[in-house]
C-alpha cells in the first residue's frame, strides 16, 4: 500500500523514496517537473521579502507555537500551492 510504502521508507530512513514521492505529488506524476515546482515555490516565497516589507511575525510565531506539527505540515503543503499559484504558471489540470 502506498501509505505503508511511505511509512516503511520513513522507518528505513530512505529519504530518496520520500522526496521522490513529494516531487511526484507536486509534479502530477512527473518527478523532474515536481522538483521544478518546489524550486518555483521557493522563488515565489523569496520575491515578496526582498524589499523587507513589514510582516506579521506575531502571527507567525504564535501559529508556530500553538499549532500542532500535522496542521503546520498541512499548511506547508498549502503554502507550496499558494506560491506556485502566485507564479502565474499553473501546471495542474484542475484547481485547488
Amino acid at each position: 500500500m502506498s501509505l505503508a510504502y511511505l511509512k516503511t521508507a520513513i522507518a528505513e530512513g530512505d529519504s530518496e523514496k520520500l522526496i521522490r514521492y513529494v516531487r511526484l505529488h507536486f509534479g502530477d506524476g512527473n518527478e523532474a517537473r515536481g522538483a521544478k515546482e518546489i524550486d518555483k515555490a521557493w522563488i515565489e516565497a523569496l520575491k515578496p521579502l526582498l524589499e523587507i516589507p513589514p510582516t506579521d511575525r506575531e502571527f507567525i510565531l504564535q501559529t508556530l507555537a500553538e499549532k500542532d506539527a500535522a496542521t503546520l505540515a498541512h499548511l506547508f503543503f498549502h503554502l507550496h500551492f499558494y506560491f506556485v499559484g502566485r507564479s502565474g504558471e499553473w501546471i495542474h489540470d484542475g484547481n485547488l
Binding site: 502506498s2 501509505l3 510504502y5 498541512h74 500551492f81 484542475g94 484547481n95
Partner: protein, 165 residues
C-alpha cells in the same frame, strides 16, 4: 490517460511512474460481493449517482487537493442542482471540458433528462462526490466507502451509478 484537445498526452511519462508512485495502492479483493439484481425495471427505479469527480456545491468546504495522502471526505450534491451552483476541486484530471459542460464528468442534467424521458424512474434527492486521490486504500475502503454506502442507502435508491473521473 489525460489527453488534450489536440490529442496529445498532457502528462508524458506519467504512466511509467504509476507503479512506483502508487505501489500496492490498488485494493485487492478476494471476497467479491455479487452485484445485486435490479428489483424493478429501470424506468421505475430511483437512481443514485456516485462520482470521484470532485464536484461539490459552491460554498462547501473544498476537497483537500493539497494533502499528500489524500482526502477521505465526500459531499452530497443535490440532484436538482444547476451546474452553475457546482464547482470542481481536484488537481488530477483535465477539467477544460467539464468547465464548458459539467455533464461530461458529472452528468447531472443528462440523468434528469433520462427521468423526463421516463428511461429512469427518478433520482435520489442527493448525489455523492469525492476525489480519487486517496493514498491510503485501507482508509478509503473502511471509512470513506462505508460512509458513502450508508449515505446512499439512506436515500433509498434502487440502483446506483458509479463513475470514476
Amino acid at each position: 490517460m489525460a489527453i488534450s484537445e489536440q490529442g496529445k498526452e498532457l502528462r508524458p511519462g506519467l504512466w511509467e511512474t504509476v507503479n512506483e508512485r502508487y505501489p500496492g495502492s490498488m485494493i485487492t479483493k478476494t471476497d467479491l460481493v455479487p452485484l445485486a439484481k435490479l428489483s424493478k425495471p429501470l424506468c421505475e427505479a430511483r437512481l443514485a449517482f456516485v462520482s470521484t469527480a470532485g464536484v461539490q456545491p459552491k460554498g462547501t468546504l473544498p476537497f483537500d487537493t493539497v494533502h499528500p495522502v489524500g482526502d477521505y471526505s465526500f459531499r452530497r450534491v443535490p440532484s436538482a442542482s444547476k451546474p452553475a451552483d457546482l464547482e470542481i476541486h481536484q488537481l488530477k484530471y483535465p477539467t477544460f471540458g467539464a468547465k464548458r459542460d459539467l455533464n461530461v464528468i458529472f452528468p447531472i442534467e443528462r440523468l434528469r433528462d433520462l427521468v423526463t424521458e421516463k428511461f429512469i424512474g427518478s433520482l435520489t434527492e442527493n448525489f455523492f462526490s469525492f476525489i480519487g486521490y486517496n493514498m491510503d486504500p485501507e482508509r478509503l475502503e473502511r471509512n470513506l466507502a462505508e460512509e458513502i454506502a450508508a449515505a446512499v442507502e439512506a436515500e433509498n435508491p434502487d440502483v446506483a451509478l458509479l463513475a470514476p473521473a
